[in-house]
């Protein structure tokens, strides 16, 4: 009961911030439209809709880190979290309460992205549903990064690290804007040592119906998501016990 009351508050805080809607849904859609427009005017297949839509969907999810990190960091710096730490809410209430509202938001983001892609020529079939499911570990990954950032950084630092750095790093190293094989070398190795390119590749495989290619990539995303979530839970729990919230 307490968990759901707290989660409901967090959902309202997130959805009532127009910047969240603009960045979480509006910005990725603009990028999708822009790349599709470029594709329509060039002779080579650089930004085919079935190739860029998974990348844009992952790019959109990267803003979840900013949303969750900012919410937690603002609660901490405004003493609101201190008030809640003195209440009967348990540590699991806090962690789930900050995490759960973002899962349906992530699903909605992905659904909207694919619906927009339908209008740009993406085939409507059951693989789209599979692609949305395959995106869930990536959503958990970005939510966990936000939980971790919000637990240890202030709101300005979260804005810089999750808003500017993470969204750029995850986009450039995801293979969305260009084929990582074209750069190759250490850049490609670095990109595939991180989870973002794997998240895009797994979603592309799901969308293409290439089911056997999903899991090698998805394991990377699930592994990163699990490890960062555990670190985030430990960091938040330590913050609850520390002298300075």
């Amino acid at each position: 009961m307490r968990l759901f009351i707290f989660a409901s508050r967090n959902r309202k805080e997130l959805l009532r911030d127009p910047a969240n809607l603009a960045f979480g849904i509006g910005f990725p859609l603009v990028v999708l439209l822009l790349l599709s427009a470029i594709q329509a005017n060039i002779p080579v297949s650089l930004y085919k809709v079935e190739s860029i839509t998974p990348g844009i969907a992952v790019f959109g999810l990267s803003f979840l880190s900013l949303f969750s990190g900012m919410l937690i960091a603002k609660d901490r710096t405004s003493s609101f979290l201190m008030r809640l730490f003195a209440s009967p809410l348990s540590s699991s209430d806090f962690i789930l309460g900050y995490t759960l509202p973002l899962v349906p938001m992530a699903m909605a983001q992905s659904v909207i992205c694919f619906i927009a892609a339908f209008f740009l020529g993406l085939a409507v079939n059951s693989n789209v549903l599979l692609a949305i499911v395959v995106l869930i570990p990536a959503a958990v990954l970005f939510i966990a990064i936000g939980l971790l950032a919000g637990s240890v950084l202030n709101d300005k630092q979260v804005g810089g690290i999750c808003g500017a750095l993470l969204t750029n790093v995850s986009a450039w190293l995801s293979g969305t804007w260009f084929d990582l094989g074209l750069v190759g070398g250490w850049f490609k190795s670095a990109a595939y040592a991180l989870p973002f390119a794997h998240a895009v590749d797994a979603t592309r495989a799901a969308l293409a119906g290439d089911y056997t290619s999903i899991f090698p990539h998805l394991w990377w995303v699930i592994g990163y998501a699990a490890v960062i979530l555990i670190i985030a839970i430990v960091a938040f729990s330590n913050k609850m016990k520390s002298d300075n919230t």
Binding site: M1, F6, E13
Partner: protein, 244 residues
């Protein structure tokens, strides 16, 4: 009956004691004023009693519940108004109050009824549907205090509750505190001596982490031989003696 029993409670940061060997008993229903200059240890004391900061040594019980071994049980019966305003910015005034009522175990209907009552008692009706973030500092402060009161805590910590309030709002809050006196045990920290004087049954004066004196306003004046309470406070807050 004793509501708060503090026994040799200390908090040390590196080599410096924020609170040192604090021992104190507060009766149920008593309003206890905790005074001291900045850095005296008032807020650290409240944080330890509210299970937000772990003491370095010593212990305390709140209505029989130990802050070290039963923090969850303590949190069920307390609430606090932090020194800084603590509200959810994108929620309305009403939603903020219903949130806290719900977190403290009230169902939807009870939370709504308590919110209606609190809105009336704290004079929040005209801003009830406004988002907290657009309220002035004074209104936010009033809401923050209402959020501490709505759970009907058995023990309430008010850390400089009237900071930033205008005279009328301050008097309204005084009235609310006076109504709660006898039922709710309160620890009140404030820099306004007239506020402590008007509201507190007893006052403790802290300096450099130690409790220097404790008693009623008249007792503190009498002990120091000072002509006014302010003079008594200055004498006690600056002297180096042990608790009286």
């Amino acid at each position: 009956m004793i509501a708060i029993e503090i026994n040799e409670l200390s908090k040390k940061y590196k080599e410096r004691f924020a609170v040192q060997s604090l021992s104190l008993s507060i009766r149920q229903g008593e309003v206890f004023g905790l005074l001291g200059v900045n850095g005296a240890g008032k807020t650290t004391t409240i944080r330890m009693l509210a299970c937000l900061t772990k003491p370095t040594s010593g212990e305390a019980t709140l209505l029989g519940r130990n802050i070290l071994s039963e923090p969850q049980a303590v949190k069920e019966i307390i609430n606090l108004s932090p020194q800084e305003t603590a509200v959810a910015p994108n929620l309305t005034v009403r939603e903020n109050l219903e949130l806290i009522a719900g977190i403290y175990g009230n169902n939807r209907q009870a939370a709504s009824e308590k919110t209606t009552e609190m809105v009336k008692n704290l004079g929040l009706a005209e801003v009830e549907k406004e988002k907290a973030k657009i309220l002035s500092g004074g209104w936010q402060r009033r809401l923050s205090i209402a959020m501490a009161l709505i759970s009907e805590p058995k023990i309430l910590f008010l850390d400089e509750p009237t900071l930033g309030l205008d005279v009328l709002a301050r008097r309204e809050l005084w009235s609310v505190i006076e109504k709660l006196e006898g039922e709710t045990t309160m620890i009140l920290t404030t820099h306004y001596l007239e506020e402590a004087q008007a509201l507190s049954d007893r006052i403790g004066i802290m300096a450099k982490g130690k409790l220097k004196a404790i008693g009623t306003v008249d007792e503190l004046i009498s002990t120091t031989g000072a002509p006014t309470f302010e003079d008594a406070f200055v004498a006690l807050a600056t002297e180096s003696g042990e608790a009286l």
